[in-house]
Symmetry: C2
Subunit: 386 residues, 2 copies
């Protein structure tokens, strides 16, 4: 099935399992970061990102920078808003707190709108919040990796455009791009930030951002210069424009090997209709969620409409903790993740179902994992009774 | 000699040619960033970095973060100094200007001490400058990639400790770590920042920093919090300490594949005495510099004592420009870089001689390159005469 060394299937909500060809691209021989062969690869990569985000706005701008998803927060906080500005952060888990912390580092004033664990802020609450202040941006975590809660970014974005049209719509898509549909133009999004190692299916090490023409305009009309250096679009914007246009350009050295791997996975992703990719994720997710329900277990994400399609956060039976279950799953060949939401971390586990584990018909990762989950939880419950 | 696909030898001052095993490590199957197998790899990697930097100070702290060498500047500017502080930047080329730009982004006041192109600030000039202000830090570019000028970091550091003992000694070692000797403890250095893709011999994508116990103390006694988020040691310090101690820890997702590759190259580097590694670089450099002289060409770095051992910046014959020479070298199987120092970019080329190209006796990269350089320059001169 795969020519990788034998290893347990990595089914955490990122990093995910990678395709053989993608991993082989990581071993690409060394190339100059300003030589034409690599420039062509980077150019094609940036163009394919436009397809993945379903944007045809020529003024929209993709950025691919060595880093991690977290660097996307810095890019937003230091380029799209200015010290003293207000932003509204919709909270569906751990990652909203961290994004808020990032904004505050750069002198931005944050208002968080928090939902109960397992839920998301409701549209009427968002509308009321938007009317309270002049927010320069709103952030929405599309899928919070700590809870598996899915936000309704299309509806929130349309609401923002209606009631607070000057507010930029920023989506943290670290755990959604590639596994959840995102119609960048149609939904009026201004910035989506993500990372390479989840739905996109490329090893970790890249911060990937798509900014709308409107976001770039906002950036270009800043009153003060960007407040970070490594994440500054003043430094990166001309570089990305040049690379995409096939012109060598230098600010900081990109990682040719990671860009090759990203090129390979984007080539695979864009070679089939995106709709079938998202359908495969929905189908796998339904299979997982049905299995979870049939085990008598519940999800953190409390309603069908707020459950992510690329991961499932699963409450363990009362009194059972992740260390009682995860090693059993590992022994059965699958790696799940423990809880991450501080208040309830000891009560749940997380199952990632993204990328080749759901799109490659030759892989049986999901079925193996469902079987292991059932057996592992049963064994843990039996042991606890002893 | 190598099982990599046929390709021209990459002899720019980074990225360099990589060892087969290092590239194979880039294809490592996917692992959890918080699973014990990867935690062990990361722990060993951090410990090997201490050896490479020749530090035994238990309070010194290595950092390895997804990014590039440039991110090291952000780490220094946002963690080791505070807005309003003065820093003294010794200028030996392009990269001092950029480091200064980074400091200014974070509200630091920069004084640059500039040497003529091809030289470095002299010790008496540094001493005089240090006495003019209360500098919180001094920065020295160990090897400026744009000029090939080598700074005398040991002597500058000892001078700083003598005349301005509160000033932190910061070294930009992006183009020196792994190819030039650095005795972190003995020379009293407080921070050395570097990247993976040059003397260390691992593909691009990692920012690598070593901070002294004194630097960490200075960080811990900051009056204001770190002024960047992704590069904040408040976020990263506990993570690095935990990984090194073998404990899983999470702030932002590291790149397991890049860390594996770094582990492989550091295992190779630390398996032989460091002195022989640096001697190999000095010997290769002498061979290159002798060949350059025998072609009647001169170097940007104007004196034997200020010439780097991992690269050579070579003035082309009068009237000959890089586009007249570089394609000829490429046709002969070697990739050199063009000029980077804005004032003279069209007058010179750069030849990187670091890593396996000089340490692997099975590789003939340097001899091939010297021959190609002679032929290529001769041909360009003949063509120009027509």
């Amino acid at each position: 099935m795969s020519n990788q060394a034998p290893h347990p299937a990595l089914l955490i909500p990122g990093p995910i399992e990678f395709d053989d060809q993608v991993l082989q691209s990581m071993s690409h021989y060394s190339e100059s970061h300003v030589g034409m062969p690599f420039v062509k690869t980077f150019s094609e990569t940036l163009k394919m990102l436009r397809k993945l985000f379903q944007t045809e706005d020529p003024k929209a701008q993709p950025f691919v920078i060595s880093g991690s998803g977290t660097l996307g927060w810095d890019q937003v906080a230091s380029n799209l808003v200015e010290p003293g500005d207000d932003v509204l952060v919709l909270h569906t888990g751990y990652f909203a707190d961290s994004f808020a912390d990032c904004f505050e580092t750069y002198g931005i004033k944050v208002t968080q709108l928090k939902a109960p664990i397992g839920d998301r802020p409701q549209l009427d609450e968002v509308e009321a919040a938007l009317k309270e202040k002049n927010y320069k941006a709103i952030t929405i975590t599309h899928v919070d990796t700590s809870t598996g809660v899915l936000s309704e970014i299309e509806h929130v974005s349309k609401l923002v455009h209606r009631v607070s049209p000057e507010t930029l719509v920023v989506v943290d898509g670290v755990c959604s791009v590639g596994s959840e549909e995102i119609q960048f133009d149609n939904w009026g999004l201004d910035c989506v930030l993500t990372a390479s190692q989840k739905g996109i299916g490329c090893p970790a090490g890249l911060s990937i951002v798509m900014a709308s023409g409107r976001a770039i305009e906002r950036f270009n009309s800043r009153k003060v210069p960007p407040t970070s250096y490594f994440g500054s679009w003043k430094n990166w914007l001309p570089i990305m424009q040049n690379y995409e246009a096939g012109k060598p350009s230098y600010f900081a050295t990109p990682s040719p090997q990671l860009i090759h791997a990203l090129h390979t996975t984007l080539t695979q992703i864009t070679s089939v209709p995106l709709s079938s990719r998202f359908e495969a994720h929905r189908a796998a997710s339904q299979k997982v969620k049905s299995a979870v329900a049939s085990l008598g277990l519940s999800q953190l994400a409390s309603k069908p409409e707020n459950q992510a399609n690329g991961m499932t956060a699963i409450y363990l039976p009362e009194g059972i903790t992740p260390p009682q279950v995860l090693p059993k799953l590992m022994a059965k060949g699958v790696v799940f993740a423990g809880g991450l939401h501080k208040q309830i971390a000891s009560k749940y586990i997380r199952f990632g179902h993204m990328g080749v584990s759901v799109t490659d018909p030759n892989r049986s990762d999901i079925d193996t994992a469902i079987k292991a989950l059932k057996e592992g939880v049963d064994e843990a419950v039996q042991e606890a009774k002893k």
